[in-house]
Symmetry: C2
Subunit: 324 residues, 2 copies
């Protein structure tokens, strides 16, 4: 078992193995989880977290890789968290990411981590924010959180970002899909990738229409830009970075960045609290207290609501979020 | 707002509208929910709860209807809870059930209720046991819980029964589907319906093989019978009732009935407790305490685990399962 404070110090120095080890500790809910999180807390809050969402085939990994290159040119340290809620694999990087991200594999200023579905605890909604904290504390200036698909869980993970980028590609029926998935409500910046293909202008126009970008807005409101890119040739990627910086500046000017981070922290606390309470209740299986309550219920002496009251009273005496 | 004790008294007298009203109160999590559940508690524990599960097309509604007829011939009062976790409809009976069950609609000794997916609270896993309690307290001797499909939620609901009946039909590839869904672990009685069709014997043989019924068992172990029926013509239905009675007698002899009911009551208490705690945490959105914790987190003064500890401490002071 490794010393947490020395691991954290090594991560701060930019040692990728220490970063990887810390992420493993937090996503696996290790016994040292609480210690790690306490050690990280004072070191967090510096990273700018960008979420990237879009249907399979729009070129998300390629776009992420191109963004990494653009940020590295500026000398920023970059973390990448590739999240696949539908994948049965967990831990380590997936082969596809490895291949597409391989140009950054030897760059000490880039951390790449894949996360996949976990049945354990609260799943990705629980694990992703903790991995972000590790990357933040390790000194990443920018963290790119790439999620696969546009389902509810992807939207939830994307909403943990400071800025959400929604990617589309021409001729994929993305417009309708996007509307269905509620993705039009989460994008701060829209990217039409593969813009060298037929239909890119039509996709951008349709998106412009659906977003109501032609309508007048109150002064100071954020108007999501639509950027066309060919990520595979790095075309338009600097414009995406510029749009992200503008959004960040706008958020800071209007207090939105703090508001979003407060909201993210609130949700994180809620998720941990609910998960911990659920685990504690689960731990009571075979516990004498629950058995005794069940006996009184089937004897008709007690209804399940009063039984739940009694159960909950016994749950919160010590260390309620003691996830192990 | 109606007086709960008079509603319960009317339900005991066999008034279907009072039963329907009580089910609506408990499944809708009305303000009177706790009062209703407390009033019902001493009246429960008499009904024999039978779960019926199977893929669409095996003839579940027809089989349920035929079982109702068979039990009514014995003079038993019967409750039917038709649960469809995949249906977007909620409350009241679905048209299909109404039609197939119409022969029992005017029988005062039969209560029929459909339940569908609810986003609210713990969903069907939360609402179904409470509806069962109402039917039990209303004096039903037998409660048939019919679930659509063989997915995880159906299996969970079926497992709330005293006895689980798994229905199959010839030539539907049910064998493989059943194995996948883990349905082979939950059946106490297997029914091959539509036994007048080709392949009924093959289905029964395959099932017999998969269940390992040819293997020797310890004396006293329950050996799930396989009954062939043509429910539309009521053929074999008396044999199903006989198999159910045998299973019930075996459970009573071996203490299994009490064990299953204790387990069911435990799960019910857990579900209520988890749901209530989750609701309470959800209620804290915008609450000053959660805001203050989030502020300390983004300032780096506090990690989310310690914040969750503080949050949980404030949750359990009064009426923890006060679902409204």
């Amino acid at each position: 078992m490794q010393d947490v404070s020395s691991l954290v110090a090594q991560a701060r120095e930019g040692r990728p193995r220490a970063v990887a080890r810390l992420i493993s500790l937090v996503e696996g809910a290790s016994p040292q989880l609480r210690e790690v999180m306490a050690a990280l807390a004072p070191l967090t809050g510096n990273a700018y977290v960008v979420g990237l969402t879009g249907s399979p085939g729009v070129g998300k990994s390629t776009s992420t890789s191109a963004l990494v290159t653009a940020y590295r040119k500026q000398g920023r340290r970059v973390g990448v968290l590739a999240v696949d809620p539908s994948s049965p694999f967990s831990g380590g990087a997936l082969l596809g990411d490895r291949v597409r991200m391989s140009e950054h594999a030897s760059d000490p200023g880039v951390y790449i981590r894949s996360m996949a579905t976990r049945g354990h605890l609260g799943g990705l909604a629980w694990a992703a924010p903790q991995a972000i904290r590790v990357l933040d504390a390790a000194g990443c200036d920018v963290i790119l959180v790439e999620t696969v698909g546009v389902g509810q869980s992807e939207v939830e993970i994307a909403s943990q970002a400071d800025t959400s980028v929604v990617l589309l590609a021409p001729g994929m029926g993305d417009g309708i899909q996007a509307a269905k998935a509620g993705i039009l409500e989460i994008g701060d910046v829209y990217v039409v990738n593969k813009a060298d293909r037929d239909g890119a202008d039509a996709t951008a126009r349709e998106l412009n229409h659906m977003l109501g970008l032609g309508e007048s807005r109150a002064p100071g409101d954020w108007r999501p830009p639509i950027v066309k890119t060919v990520a595979a040739r790095a075309e338009g990627v600097d414009e995406v970075v510029e749009a992200l910086e503008k959004h960040r500046a706008w958020m800071e000017e209007h207090g939105v960045l703090t508001a979003r981070r407060l909201s993210r922290a609130s949700r994180e606390v809620e998720t941990i609290a609910v998960t911990a309470l659920r685990e504690r209740i689960g731990d009571l299986h075979g516990d004498r207290r629950l058995d005794a309550l069940a006996e009184r219920i089937i004897a008709g002496d007690l209804d399940p609501y009063r039984a739940a009251d009694e159960l909950v009273k016994g749950l919160t005496s010590t260390n309620p979020s003691g996830v192990h």
